[in-house]
Amino acid sequence: MTAYDPVLIAHVREPNSYTLDFYLQHGGYDALKTALAKKPDEIIEIVKASGLRGRGGAGFPTGMKWQFVDKKIEPRYIVCNADESEPGTFKDHLLMERNPHLLIEGCAIGCYAIGAKVAYIYIRGEFFHVQGVLERAIDEAYAKGFLGRNILGSGFDCDVFVHRGAGAYEAGEETALLESLEGKRAQPRNKPPFPAVAGLYGKPSAVNNVETLCNVPVIVSKGVEWYTSVGPEKNGGPKLYCVSGHVRKPGVFEASMNVTLRELINDYAGGVREGRTLKAVIPGGSSVPILLPDQLDTRASFDDIQKAGSLLGSAAIVVLDDSTCMVWLAENLLHFYRHESCGKCTPCREGTDWLHKILQRIEHGEGQMRDLDLLQSISGNIGGKTLCAFGDAAVTPVLTTLKHFRHEYEAHIKEGRCTLPAPWRATHPVGAHA
């Protein structure tokens, strides 16, 4: 295992890690003090030089995003995307629940850098308990003068508010999140204009993931040189990995992006369970292509995973052992996408419904060989034909399982049943036409 000292989640297992006192004892809000002594442009330059890439999924450089924010128009906003809904992802959940002040500090520095006075943290509706933790932490920060008017005597004002969603995966897409924050359905906008030009209320906004903003205080206190020295070139800084599925010790693990998938699965998460072998790995949430066991020595960095044919996404590593039926897996995920499609673009709204129905009938032994071509053809009519990336995400589970596990689909159809039932699945599955 590569030697690495965690910085983002170093103290999260300690009982009071979420309190302001604890945070201050561990150097909390020092980065805000350092930042306020510099000019806003300098902060943007520092973040740019650090090479920090967005941790939400796209990996876009954060410094660039902040630079693009139109500084001529007032007011401007920081919107923190805490809608963490990508299946397999739970890192922001841990950060907000156990280290909320790091996020608040990140929001304040972000606001200072782009000249915003308000940051909204949009959390998903299911994170009711997280809202409580965040709001208490925000109150503490106001009381000690880290938020509010004239912060630390610098003349800089900043408010942070928590806004709770109400159950919509699509709200994790940045423009859909802005729509939701404006009090509408979480449906994506046409781009351009990008949020940096016309975001929240049509004003210049930066939408950043929780983990991204949590990296900002770290960059400011530890410096660009340290930050870029952690991990491979262009993939610097600490990274949180969510490992779940068929492993002994699932959890959130912090490492540099030098870490390999094999290390994450075997050393950090304890490997697959007794008597089972690894069948496939989803390296970045349900929306990315599957990697196979012979690709485990790939470094878990944005660029390396992409070279291996997948995406790091939200670093949600779902480990699948040999008891997993890949047709069932595609059906399970398409149930998700069908349910979560926001309904704005026809190909996605209708197509995910059809994909799920076809997968369901194959899984229940009622499929025909021509269904496989139908799956390909429907997928081709969704991917790239929607306003947001949801369409591409939704067809990925179908295309990737068809590519690597076509024989399983064929076996289902030939034998007229699921050829790989598992004890952890429903004993009486609800059939396609039951």
Binding site: V12, R13, E84, S85, P87, G88, T89, F90, L94, E97, R98, R124, G125, E126, F127, F128, H129, F161, H163, R164, G165, A166, G167, A168, L181, E182, G183, K184, A186, Y201, V243, S244, G245, H246, R248, K249, P250, G251, I282, A316, V318, T324, L329, N332, L333, H335, F336, R338, H339, E340, G343, D353, K357, R361, A422, W424, R425, A426, H428, P429
Partner: protein, 202 residues
């Protein structure tokens, strides 16, 4: 309307099937909720009161248990938007209920990481124990059973959310016990959401 005999379009699912909310009893916020509402609305620019529609609806739902047409009217008036604007939001987000639900709404996560750790079995056990299908409420109004998509706690699978509280690592064999526990102790029966999974699993 179906164009395919084996795939009845909309038989189980259709986004545009518009159901009108129950009219419900007359609705207005309690004084406490009204004060809370006024406080929330201040977080957004004065001309952007509409932003408060989700928190305003949560207040209504906590007060009355579900969202009625009268509640929608009240929220719309307070925010200065149309009833259609509010109804649009209510019908879109899954966490607002347009029909009365049980005292305990049990939401079982059904997405991949939970599913491969036994979530489907959890649902089966709960269905059998409660004599309910997902989406139904029992006649006494105590339990509503729902299947939901990824809750974002995949390391502690299978996860269920009961009302706003969480219960983690729910083995299928323990599901029926949880129901009895909920009856006896209410939400105190739930493990809550704590990051103690490493300790628990050794």
């Amino acid at each position: 309307m179906s164009f395919h005999p084996k795939m009845a379009y909309g038989a189980t699912f259709h986004k545009s099937a518009r159901q009108l909310e129950d009219e419900g009893p007359p609705f207005a916020y309690t004084a406490e909720n009204r004060a809370r509402f006024e406080e929330i609305v201040k977080r957004y620019p004065a001309e952007r009161r509409r932003s408060a529609v989700l928190p305003a609806l949560y207040l209504a739902q906590y007060q009355q248990g579900y969202i009625t047409a009268n509640a929608i009217r009240h929220v719309a008036e307070l925010l200065g938007i149309t009833r259609a604007d509010v109804e649009d939001v209510v019908s879109y987000y899954t966490m607002f209920y347009a029909k009365p639900v049980g005292k305990f709404v049990i939401n079982v996560c059904r997405t991949l990481s939970c599913a491969i750790n036994g979530a489907e079995r959890v649902t089966e056990e709960l269905c059998a124990k409660l004599s309910l299908k997902p989406g139904e409420t029992d006649p006494t109004g105590t339990f509503t059973l729902m299947e939901v998509e990824c809750l974002g706690a995949c390391d502690r699978a299978p996860v269920v959310m009961v009302n706003d509280a969480w219960h983690e690592c729910l083995a299928p064999e323990a599901a029926t016990r949880l129901v009895d526990d909920l009856r006896a102790r209410g939400e105190a029966a739930l493990s809550g959401c704590h990051h103690v999974v490493e300790r628990r699993r050794g």
